[in-house]
Amino acid sequence: MKTCRLISLAAAGSLVAVVFSPAFAAEAGDPVAGKAKTSMCIGCHGISGYKTVFPEVYHVPKLGGQHAAYIVKALQEYKAEKRSHPSMRAIAAGLSDKDMADLAAYYAADPARAAAK
């Protein structure tokens, strides 16, 4: 009986460890929560043909259908000041890991499949 209780305690403990481990949190983006966080993104990434004008002029990249892991990596690089765009650095600086995962999950979701739902 005592062994049984010990085993269930250990099982519960490892479940808690999995749920709260950073690796798990990094992968668990919620696309619905992500959509609610896009207000800072849509002014540039949501406008067809929009160009950034500072410090260079070029079309802002399309995000729809991009891999979530790549979007998270890009945001983390802006936050760590490893990528240079001033606006993106400022925006990424205010994002938590969870915000990044949610935004990435939203933009990565297949638009055709999402529309069919």
Partner: protein
């Protein structure tokens, strides 16, 4: 003779494409990119970005940033090291012409 030169000068810009890049040449030059970015720029591996359908000028900027070490990647740096301006424009023309990424609000 002067009229002929004038005519050539006036019509020459009309024969140039909107972008300098040639997508067919870009496809031929994209062989080293396929392993990570997929045969048409729709990579299947989540760590490598999809390029298909991305904006032409953003792709040119990204490659130039890697070349100038403004963007640092141990994978991309040696890949773009020897690309000419023409190569970069051709590759960008090819990937931007493929179906893939979309604008999402």
């Amino acid at each position: 003779m002067n009229k002929l030169i004038l005519a050539v000068c006036l019509t020459l810009p009309l024969s140039l494409p909107a972008f300098a890049g040639d997508p067919e040449a870009g496809q031929r030059k994209s062989q080293p990119c396929v392993a990570c970015h997929g045969p048409d720029g729709n990579s299947t591996s989540a760590e490598f970005p999809k390029l298909a359908g991305q904006h032409y000028d953003y792709l040119v900027k990204a490659i130039n940033d890697y070349k100038a070490s403004a963007r640092k990647s141990p994978i991309m740096a040696p890949m773009v090291e020897k690309l000419t301006v023409r190569d970069i424009e051709d590759l960008a023309a090819y990937y931007s012409s493929r179906k893939g990424l979309v604008l999402k609000y």
